[in-house]
Amino acid sequence: MFQNHDRVASVIFLIATTFLYYHAGSFPEEAAFYPRMVIALMVILSVLMFVKSWLKSGRSRTFEPFFIHQGRFILSTLMALGYIAGVQYLGYYSASLIFIPAAAWALGYRNRFVMAGTTVCYLLFIFVVFDQLFDRPLTQEFFLRH
């Protein structure tokens, strides 16, 4: 049923590109010309994709789910989102110190020695390369503010 995913995707593309086509209509003529040309092509491609998925729908005998594991995908996305918020509010090192072992643990990994070792090695690598060697800026740690 892979074509079903394609059909859903083509409908999403069609809605998005139709919206963008009209949105580009509000631009001055010179600025709108090229975007509308590309978007018009995308509308055509969305229709072709839809038709192709429709024509092939009867032939497909295999089912390929969209997610490999939906639960773990949602979990990892939420963890990534939480981690970025953590980097913003707690600081990079503090957030990473929590995130790296917590994410592995949440996914079922239980070897504490490897988890701790990986976290420490990673933070050391970031400190040496980003902080000391290349002097790249990182978010400030919450306990160092004020």
Binding site: H5, G108, R136, L138
Partner: protein
């Protein structure tokens, strides 16, 4: 022509550049050796590291990852029949049977030497073919640049993935993303939806890291593999036996692999996977003992790895001279150039000769360094990377992407944006959309629009300027042929295979 090579040689031999190349090779082998990670992802992840470096140092590191990654894929291909990179698929055909016969060391050594030979010959082709092609490309005006960009985009879109419609759609998504921000002619903000952070446009690096590095990390989390490969599966014994290699078969196989790999590498959109397969099939077809292929014939490993690496530098020939890359990885290196403020194209050879020619040397030296890093101790060491549990790698990859993108512009907005593009990249990957056309669309989009507008201004809105000049006509024909290729190919297969096979093809 010799002078820029001579001058850049001394620049590339500065210790910082040598160190960057070696770090790149080691990083590339590691990324290539871990199934699920690729050299492409390695470059996407490590580009943020290069912000503080000189452009040549950064390109040296990317050259190292490129060549190291191409070889690294052979390690799991031989030991576990899992190609570390797509280009190593043909290596599994004979590499794994050799490992099963207790000849893993020999297979890995042949793979390593063949990779180095393929990479070096490819680098020499880059050095010899690029300067005259750049000289020729200097004659291109806006209409020709417009068409060559469209040709490159169409080739990658149509030839790279399995579905040309999806390839073209991915290109259009890239073109569209390239329009976000201020229109430089009218000063009008396009597709920013009143978001201040978007008025400067979307940063290439943000999209690149998002679509290349995050989807594999999410997939690692979904698969949640708790253990790496067991150490007993990585044990291999043996002694150095280069004198006993079938040199009389390996040498002609290398020649064939290099010719095929370089030609396929130069063609936009056709990467090392195709080169390795074509060279493997040709060698098997012309062999006196074709039956031995697929059963542990060392020539099979040699030809597959040599062709796979012969594509590396060759794919950079159109990228450096015309700004149109020959592969997805070349597109990423092109993006690396742009991030360092260098515009790929024929003028780059005049404006930054040390960087361009130095990069060519870097491709040569990093290929040669595989002789050292592919030694058996190093291979054993790299094989042990496979013991790492992927579930532990996932948070490390996410943390690396966050630090890289944040440190680019001190912007947490960019980090959230990267995550959004990671999710988009995941969806596209699951739907079998090729990602390289998206990146190429993003790179070439502003160039296409700018040159189209300039051409029309020069001709006072007379569109015929686009199809009246001889080079433009040739490029239009080439673009039309590329776009018509899937239809012609489908018609050809229908005639040859009949209705039953056609049904099978449709399923595929």
């Amino acid at each position: 022509m010799i002078e820029p090579f001579y001058n850049s040689l001394w620049v590339i031999l500065e210790w910082q550049n040598i160190l960057a190349m070696l770090v790149g090779v080691i990083g590339g082998i590691i990324f290539g050796a871990i199934p699920g990670l690729t050299a492409t992802m390695g470059i996407a992840l490590l580009i943020p590291l290069t912000f503080g470096m000189s452009p040549l140092m950064a390109l040296g590191m990317m050259a190292g990852i490129h060549n190291g990654g191409s070889y690294g894929g052979a390690i799991p291909a031989v030991l576990l029949r899992i190609p570390g990179t797509p280009g190593a698929i043909a290596t599994t055909f004979d590499g794994y049977p050799m490992a099963q016969q207790g000849l893993a060391e020999r297979a890995l050594k042949i793979a390593c030497v063949s990779s180095a030979v393929g990479g070096m010959v490819s680098a020499v082709s880059l050095m010899t073919l690029s300067p005259p092609l750049a000289e020729f490309a200097l004659a291109f005006g806006p209409p020709e640049i417009f068409w060559i960009s469209l040709f490159g985009l169409s080739s990658i879109a149509v030839l790279l993935g399995s579905d040309p419609i999806k390839g073209l759609m991915a290109s259009c998504i890239g073109l569209l993303l390239g329009m976000v921000g201020l229109d430089h002619v009218t000063g009008y903000e396009r597709f920013t939806f009143d978001t201040l952070e978007l008025s400067g446009g979307l940063q290439l690096i943000v999209i690149m890291v998002g679509v290349y590095a995050l989807p594999p990390a999410f997939q690692m989390a979904e698969r949640a593999i708790m253990t790496g490969v067991k150490s007993k599966d990585l044990e291999f014994e043996g002694k150095s036996d280069m004198a006993n290699w079938p040199w009389m078969q390996i040498f002609p196989a290398w020649v064939r692999a290099n010719v095929i790999g370089i030609i396929i590498g130069i063609l936009p959109g056709v990467g090392g996977v195709v080169g390795a397969f074509v060279a493997y099939n040709e060698t098997k077809r012309s062999s006196k003992d074709p039956e031995s292929f697929g059963k542990g014939n060392p020539v099979g490993v040699a030809v597959a790895e040599c062709a796979n690496n012969a594509d590396n530098a060759a794919a950079m020939i159109p990228a450096l001279t015309l700004g149109v890359p020959g592969s997805g990885l070349a597109a990423l290196i092109l993006a690396g150039l742009l991030i360092h403020g260098l515009e790929p194209g024929p003028r780059l050879f005049k404006e930054a000769p040390d960087v361009v020619y130095g990069y060519m040397w870097a491709m040569l030296f990093t290929s040669a360094s595989l002789f050292v890093f592919g030694g058996i101790i190093a291979t054993k060491l790299f094989a042990n990377i496979l013991r790492l549990a992927q579930v532990q790698l996932m948070p490390v990859i996410i943390a690396l992407t966050v630090v890289g993108i944040y440190s680019f512009e001190n912007s947490i907005f960019n980090v959230y944006l990267m995550l959004a593009f990671g999710l988009l990249g995941y969806a596209l990957e699951r739907l079998k959309f090729p990602i390289a056309p998206l990146i190429l669309g993003l790179i070439l989009g502003p160039k296409v629009e700018f040159n189209l507008r300039v051409a029309l201004r020069l001709s006072q809105d007379d569109w015929s300027i686009l199809w009246t000049r001889p080079i433009s006509i040739a490029l239009i024909i080439l673009t039309a042929l590329v776009l018509a290729y899937p239809v012609i190919s489908a018609l050809f297969h229908r005639k040859r295979e009949g209705p039953e096979e056609e049904f099978a093809m449709g399923e595929e």
